[in-house]
Symmetry: C2
Subunit: 456 residues, 2 copies
């Protein structure tokens, strides 16, 4: 009994010592990030010198070089590019949208932008009557006789009462992704989609659409939420009004690009890999500051923080800047393909792709035993505002690793402001707060530290 008691005491004090060491390491991570963090300066360069970086664009090529140079300059162990072919869509000259000859207001210019991947109308544009719907069911019930030859206006708003704005987004984004093809099934000539924004705003939100196979491809535009409300109001009085849309987008042949990868080699288990990531491509409006410049600089910063504080991870910690999340997921797909081909052992993969906002927690996509283990670390993370470990999720780019059984984590910042900026000309560096961004990097580093110490 005495021996067992002594053992328990010893185990207890060992556990206590580990707890104290972890507390102190995590404190050190946040101290370094808040005193000397470099995420914000990196993001400044990426946004203000490189700018936006849609797959296949010169900006994307410049961003690849930027990422490689930054990680080389920090002296990471192994910095390399992983080639991948990406879709190459170009917007062309600025789009036009116009409510024509409405009874109450005459002709009104409205704020629109083409959806990514959409074909263009060409210089002659399209003029047609508008039919407003809130769902695909409503569209189906209207059927060909009411839809044919018209522009379908998808006007279901994001539900503002969802506290998690991503849930509101999830409840509306089918209109953007599939609306054009759904409308085309019934003979529509164009699609106009209410922007995915949390508020009434003047600017449109772009984002990807997917044309269904064997359905005619029709041009699709997003319209600002405020102009969606206006159009809806004018349609109530005047269901026969015409809408003019003009866009000049083109789909070019696939272009070569790269995932950008840098590592710190593990000191004990170099073959076990912990991925920390964001996506390097962005839409071609704004600067891709929150989406997802923030995630890229945070991923790099995790490794920089470890080096700055002299922490040598046991496992290999790998920063991945994925290419082409927005309109193809080619980078994430290729990364997973190579991981499988090379039989790489991924302990876990984390992505930051919800903006550079104040920390709230992590989403988890893994089995229950592993979730329980991650949640047992909550007391270490809660002092930094990381209290939410309840949501399911990882990240789009790391998703293709899931079939290989890789546990996935998503960094979870506060979501209230994200859809003010997402996919718009407003997603610029000045919308990012330095402390919020640096704390996000520290939060990710703290989680990677715990994964490295204790595995899963």
């Amino acid at each position: 009994m005495k021996y067992i008691g002594a053992c328990l005491l010893l185990l207890g004090s060992l556990a206590g010592a580990a707890q104290t060491r972890d507390e102190s390491s995590i404190r050190q991570i946040f101290d370094e990030a808040l005193r000397n963090g470099e995420s914000y300066a990196m993001l400044d360069y990426l946004c203000n010198k490189v700018g936006h970086r849609l797959s296949g664009s010169p900006g994307a090529a410049a961003a690849v070089e930027w990422g490689r140079h930054v990680m080389q300059d920090y002296g990471f162990d192994n910095v390399y590019l992983q080639p991948v072919m990406v879709p190459h869509w170009v917007r062309g000259q600025k789009e036009m949208g116009r409510i024509v000859n409405s009874r109450k207001m005459g002709t009104v210019e409205v704020n629109v932008c083409a959806l990514g991947g959409s074909i263009g109308t060409g210089p002659s544009g399209i003029s047609a009557p508008v039919i407003e719907v809130r769902s695909f069911d409503e569209l189906k019930q209207l059927g060909e006789k009411n839809v044919k030859g018209k522009i379908v206006f998808f006007n279901r708003a994001m539900d503002p009462t969802r506290i998690n704005t991503f849930t509101g987004y999830g409840g509306a984004v089918d209109q953007r992704g599939s609306g054009a093809s759904e409308a085309a099934k019934y003979g529509a000539v164009g699609a106009l989609v209410r922007s995915m924004g949390s508020n009434l705003e003047d600017y449109p939100h772009t984002g990807g659409l997917r044309y269904a196979p064997n359905v005619p491809q029709i041009p699709a535009l997003a319209i600002s939420t405020r102009h969606a409300e206006l159009l809806s109001k004018l349609l109530k009085d005047d269901s026969g009004l015409q809408f003019y849309m003009e866009s000049h987008c083109e789909i070019l042949p696939d272009a070569p690009s790269y995932n950008v990868i840098g590592e710190i080699k593990g000191s004990e288990h170099p073959e076990e890999i912990i991925v920390v990531s964001g996506h390097l491509d962005s839409w071609d409006l704004g600067q891709g500051a929150h989406d997802d410049g923030a995630g890229c600089v945070q991923a790099i910063e995790v490794l920089r923080l470890f080096k700055a504080m002299g922490y040598k991870p046991k496992r290999t910690v790998r920063a991945v800047l994925f290419m082409n999340e927005e309109n193809g997921l080619r980078g994430g797909t290729e990364y997973a393909r190579q991981a499988l081909a090379k039989k790489e052992k991924h302990l876990a993969a984390m992505e930051s792709d919800r903006g550079g906002f104040t920390p709230r927690g992590f989403t988890l996509s893994m089995d229950d035993a592993k979730k329980t283990k991650v949640r047992s670390w909550k007391p270490l993370l809660e002092p930094y505002g990381l209290a939410d470990f309840s949501q399911e999720g990882g990240g789009a780019d790391i998703g293709p690793l899931a079939p290989q059984g890789v546990p996935l984590l998503g960094y979870l910042p506060d979501s209230q402001r994200y859809f003010n900026y997402h996919h718009t000309a407003e997603d610029t560096f000045d919308k990012v707060d330095k402390r919020e961004l640096e704390m996000g990097a520290a939060a990710m580093a703290a989680m990677v530290y715990l994964l490295d110490q204790y595995g899963l």
Copy 2:
């Protein structure tokens, strides 16, 4: 046994029903705030039409009328003004600060503003050598022989590693509040205080100072954090450099003003009062958007939300827009004096004075039994991001109610961005996010609802 069992079952199902009713009421509060909230529109008016509103200024008078009208228009039961005399300090024409003849950079204009309550230098200004200190201890050790005839430069930064930025503020703000008099004790002719900001910025932060009795009053300016760094650097090479400061502030006789009060009378216990509040005055730079227009519109919105959803509180819910938090606390003091004189029974008082940011929780200042009761409501509030009930605190304006035994609560939003704007020209309406602001009002209404239902 059977009887007791049935009783327990009944009690259990009653508690369950109450739980469900509370969940549904709180859901209704947030739904109304997020669909139809009016905090943001109120704040737009207060910031963009009324503008800043320092005690005794025309803006403050306009804000009083604005508050009264808004609450009358909402049809609150009892809207009235509570007279109070307030200090009347005016800044006068724009201040100047200049590093003169530094060895490396010659003469450099720096960004400064007078601290509230400071005397002015007058048009001839003050030119003197500078001595930099980080603490009152350091100042004391330097003593009269090193300080006399000089400008004391207080350059202790807010500790950036504090996750709660208010703790960082608390660790530095003595320099602003007492620096001038501490310096004057040793014969200084002026005080220059590093701005209370979280980051390196170009603009100065004002804020109140208090002159100690029986010490000569000397002029005091805040200097932007970036220029504080510059001055410190230049002083290292050139300890003899001169600084020129010029300010034109004046202290005028006390002026009449008002707290603005509106109520919904309680249906069962009208004599029991729950206060929900913010402060109506602001500094004279910017628009007082986060500090504390946000708190005022949220306090009004709590009552509006109850009316909009048809909730008739059992107790009287009273919105108070306090006057003169920033430089005197006369409104809060007068309110507490009258509460005592009228023998009003305050069940609790809540203030929102930490900006209109995303909800985190509530600070509590009350005995342990009451804290336990409030914390038992956490499961009802956590789905809305309100998870932090651990910090002590109420609010400056409701503080004078504490000696009467009134339990105090402070609305606790996220603190990361607050000290980017606090007391600066940057504290403008465009820095406030609609969803964050409306959710704050809903959070406060949810807490008031629970206080009203269950008392303390």
